[in-house]
Point group: C2
DNA sequence: GACGATAACTTACCGCAGTTAACTTAGCGA
DNA sequence: TCGCTAAGTTAACTGCGGTAAGTTATCGTC
């Protein structure tokens, strides 16, 4: 919004032209530089083509040898950041045998992920639909596997009799997803609201969501 | 993102300079034109200072006689769009005497509002926190009253014995808010996801949320 | 070991964006 | 009628995403 000197780092300078057949090197360096800029500034707008090029030590048009446009580049950066998304959720769920506890830990891991990479999360899941739609492949890659895993996890909880037996696993998954996305998204955007302890809030809300699906208290609770 | 001719309408042309003391006229015309652009294009980026100025029939710098910068102008537009937000939720809740039903209708009205004004909703509740924070006054004006009303509504439901008695009204309100925001936000951003019938989905999810707060089935259910 | 094809860039430029400074014009009171 | 000043305009700045055309350096080949 506000103009002004956006990139100050005079470029690491050192970069020399890649050898023949190694043009893809720049591709990766661009991705890394853009990722670093996005994380450090926490501001999508600060990640300009020129800033990225400068950080890599190359001129702006060179970016377009490897990415068709800035949008695609940004989504590619987010794709990298989401690479471990599903794995993180699966890993969190795998830390317990209780299918209900597993769902809770999945929710907590989801929120943690979003809050650790707020700009990537915003770009992927909180953008204009016209923009997000233009990169359905990337967004689906980030979300579909995790969503299917969530559906399966809900199914397991239903099968185990710790959720109401009439819960449709897909609807239950949408319910949990929208719930945990809701709090993650609000925490990202309305950081100034008096949320109190974020982790505790996420835990309590996750538990309330599971209650909505008829969560049965298990022995150790 | 993609450059190109952003505003085609050659301006209604007709506008003539305001009389002395009536400079505020332009202020309102700018707001209205910006609002119209935002709604018609459904694209925040299409609402450029030049496009607004052109629509009003004035030159770009004139905008700055009435708004310090584009951000403030955009939030002022959203403020206008949110003017009826709380009223809409209160009106929806007032259509029933059942405090539980009232909460459901409140949730449905919330989602309906967000889906009817997606860009305003996105700017207010789904933006970068740094940006949203710069306009806390506007965002708080839009949200605080409605939130307090929600807290009171939860309290009434608890008092009526249709929600679990140990539900903290503030936490319950945050739970409902994040839940309905979650689905609203996802419907806005991930329009391509196979949600099925949106209204029905919102209703079912709202009901599930209330179940999470221990909603007791009332007679007519 | 010169040579030329071509991969890997750079230079120069376009139009649009938000914003500012300086200038002009029109209305009103004295 | 004069001059103050509110209500604008003109011209310009910098930075942005993106393109077209030119350059340079590396490589296989003769």
């Amino acid at each position: 919004m506000t103009p002004g000197p956006a990139y100050c780092a005079p470029g690491s300078g050192a970069r020399s032209r890649a050898r023949r057949g190694e043009g893809e090197l720049l591709h990766d360096q661009i991705l890394l530089a853009a990722e670093r800029l996005l994380i450090e500034t926490g501001d999508e707008d600060a990640v300009s083509i020129r800033a990225i090029a400068d950080a890599v030590g190359v001129t702006a048009p060179s970016i377009y040898l490897h990415f068709p446009d800035k949008e695609t580049l940004l989504f590619a950066v987010c794709d990298r950041q989401f690479a471990m998304f599903d794995e993180a959720l699966e890993a969190a769920a795998a830390t317990t045998d209780d299918p209900l506890e597993a769902l809770e830990r999945r929710c907590e891991a989801y929120a943690r992920f979003g809050l650790e990479r707020p700009e990537a999360y915003r770009i992927m899941f909180m953008g204009r639909s016209t923009l997000v739609n233009r990169h359905t492949d990337t967004v689906e890659k980030a979300g579909t596997t995790a969503f299917n895993h969530l559906v399966a996890a809900v199914q397991r909880a239903v099968d185990a009799g710790v959720l109401r037996s009439d819960v449709d696993p897909v609807e239950g998954a949408i319910f949990l997803w929208s719930g945990v996305h809701g709090i993650t998204s609000l925490l990202i955007s309305l950081a100034a609201f008096p949320w109190g302890d974020r982790d505790a809030l996420v835990r309590r809300l996750s538990r309330l969501h599971l209650d909505g699906l008829g969560a049965t208290a298990t022995a150790e609770r």
